[in-house]
């Protein structure tokens, strides 16, 4: 059973500043690097682990393996030129980036987005969540070497990417959401084809449940592992499924309803166990809920209507001086963007805030102390860490 305790008798001594004094020549400790290229690391980052036996006594997160300075690059681009850059901030789920940048620009420029476009934005965001969760849910079992579910999820995800291709022209990066609205209406027959894909997810859900959550190895290893105390949620800035697994309702769609989420009937799942198993369980319920939300959107959204509000020539568009913070709920939790403008045609400052910024650094470093080396990947994946959110 994994517990956090303050007994440091077998751990390195700390100096006055709280830094561990690790004497590698004592042969008591060993430095072990997990990543930057490692199947048990989400993306390109590395963990500098200090271990004694197979137990971790100290962990430091190192990023910088894919730094592309997106926030800086955007300061030299017009607002419309920022879109191809900002979507690449997260490969797995790029749509929240385009939604946030559009919303920030619209808010500062005083643009009202048409109703149909808002429903289409919701659909794109939920489809993005669906394709991420199709990998994340079985991916958690993959960290314990149970890889079969991941292959099933990937197959259905590919079909969802087909729908994205049909809707936007792109499979991974879409640039469907732009300032003022979206780029197009649903193609003919799109709803039926998406519904066929959703039926496959309906079949996938009980299968993946049987495969993972009734599996004795998964239960034995994931239950009680890396428990996040409730009081950490605000102290560390823990969001989304990780917070809901600790019994704290954190879902921007509920707490700050944006677009038309207030017209959708849904209740995010919460539990109290707060371990790796609970976080995975929350994501399974999220997947189920996402299918339901997409069906509600398809049933409630207008068939026709304006999809884009008029905007000035985007190549010469100057946004009034101001600043704002807009957020939405990504599959990993609250995802926000802080935009500062100075009245020119380029952003003065763009700052992206993703949950991984805290999850992969201060939270992960804390959770890994006392853990077994073999559980490192499981703990990391349970926090859904995404390195591009840290080195933007």
């Amino acid at each position: 059973m994994f517990t956090i305790n303050n007994d440091r008798s077998k751990f390195p001594e700390l100096d006055d500043a709280g830094n561990a004094l690790i004497d590698l020549t004592s042969h008591k400790y060993l430095k072990l690097w997990q990543g930057p290229q490692h199947p048990g690391v989400t993306g390109n980052m590395s963990l500098e682990l200090t271990v004694t036996g197979d137990e971790i006594v100290e962990s430091k997160t190192h990023v910088g393996y894919l730094h592309r300075g997106f926030e800086k690059l955007m300061e030299r681009r017009t607002f419309i030129q920022c879109f191809p850059t900002c979507i690449r901030l997260c490969v797995a789920e790029p749509d929240p980036n385009e939604y946030l940048l559009s919303s920030c620009v619209e808010e500062l420029a005083g643009i009202e987005v048409p109703e149909t476009a808002q429903w289409l934005r919701m659909l794109a965001l939920e489809m993005a969540r669906l394709q991420v969760l199709l990998r994340q849910v079985p991916g958690q079992a993959g960290t314990f070497a149970l890889g079969l579910g991941y292959q099933w999820g990937n197959y259905i995800r590919d079909l969802i990417l087909d729908r994205f291709e049909e809707l936007t022209g792109g499979r991974v990066y879409h640039m469907y959401i732009l300032p003022g609205g979206v780029r197009g209406l649903l193609p003919n027959g799109f709803k039926n084809r998406l519904e066929e894909n959703l039926k496959l997810v309906d079949e996938f859900l009980p299968n993946v449940w049987d495969l993972i959550y009734t599996n004795s190895v998964f239960k034995k290893r994931a239950k009680g592992l890396a428990v996040i105390p409730k009081e950490w949620i605000d102290q560390y800035g823990i969001y989304g499924p990780a917070a809901r697994a600790a019994g704290i309702m954190r879902d921007v769609r509920k707490t700050h309803p944006y677009l038309f989420y207030s017209e959708i009937d849904f209740e995010p799942f919460t539990t109290d166990e707060s371990d790796v198993f609970a976080r995975s369980l929350v994501r399974w319920h999220d997947l189920k809920m996402t299918v339901d939300i997409i069906r509600q959107i398809l049933a409630k959204m207008p068939e026709k209507g304006d999809i884009k509000a008029p905007t000035p020539n985007v190549m010469h568009w100057k946004i009034p001086k101001g600043e704002t913070y807009v957020k939405c709920e990504s599959s990993r939790g609250e995802y926000g963007m802080y935009l500062v403008t100075d009245g020119s045609d380029k952003p003065r400052r763009v700052n992206l805030k993703g949950p991984s910024y805290t999850h992969a650094t201060s939270v992960l470093e804390k959770l890994l102390v006392n853990a077994n080396i073999a559980d490192t990947a499981a703990i990391m994946v349970s926090l859904a860490t995404c390195p591009p959110e840290i080195e933007r």
């Binding site: 500043a17 709280g18 830094n19 990023v63 910088g64 730094h67 300075g69 926030e71 800086k72 690059l73 300061e75 030299r76 808010e107 950490w232 949620i233 605000d234 102290q235 560390y236 800035g237 704290i248 954190r250 707490t255 700050h256 101001g322 600043e323 704002t324 913070y325 926000g336 802080y338 500062v340 003065r348 400052r349 700052n351 805030k353 910024y357 805290t358 650094t361 201060s362 939270v363 840290i390 080195e391």
Partner: protein
């Protein structure tokens, strides 16, 4: 938010108030008053959640803007506290005693903007960059293009081949 801002005004000298939307406002305060204000908001007004800390370089005014965005999880409101610091003496009191994750932001700001937060944990450790020996890259006067050209191009050992000629030489070396 308007009510909260009025309460703050009774206790702290704030200015530049921007009631951005129903659940979001921005205020500015003097550098020396910022940390006491954040502590007061956290302990007495439920702003227990820290959202982000970032900087904006107003190079033409020779100052940095630090924005602390904090949130109240009870009423779901957010407050941005702006602090302006001298660009020549880029230093701010650390707030790591208030939130356990803020040291990561401070460490990044030290590296990317050169803003120091004395006593903040691991503030002098490299965060993303290693061996960086020029001005911090997120300052406005750092020219990314010039830096790339000076640092990376031309790379020795690289040459450009005309694809048609190259393939011909490979396939028909005797011609």
């Amino acid at each position: 938010m308007k009510q909260l801002v009025e309460i703050i005004q009774n206790h702290f000298p704030i200015n530049d108030i921007d009631l951005r939307k129903k659940s979001l406002a921005f205020i500015s305060i003097h550098q020396n008053q910022a940390i006491p204000l954040l502590e007061w908001l956290k302990t007495t007004h439920g702003y227990t959640a820290f959202v982000l800390l970032t900087a904006v370089d107003w190079i033409e005014e020779n100052r940095f803007q630090l924005t602390y965005l904090i949130s109240n999880p009870e009423n779901f409101t957010e407050l941005g506290v702006r602090v302006f610091i001298d660009r020549e003496k880029a230093e701010m009191v650390s707030a790591h005693h208030l939130w356990k994750s803020i040291w990561v932001y401070q460490r990044e700001l030290k590296e990317m903007f050169g803003i120091n937060f004395p006593d903040s944990p691991r503030v002098n450790e490299s965060f993303i960059l290693e061996g960086w020996d020029t001005i911090p890259p997120y300052r406005r006067d750092f020219d990314t293009k010039q830096y790339s050209e000076e640092t990376y191009f031309p790379r020795p050992g690289r040459s450009t081949n005309d694809p048609a000629k190259h393939m011909k030489s490979k396939l028909y070396p005797k011609d």
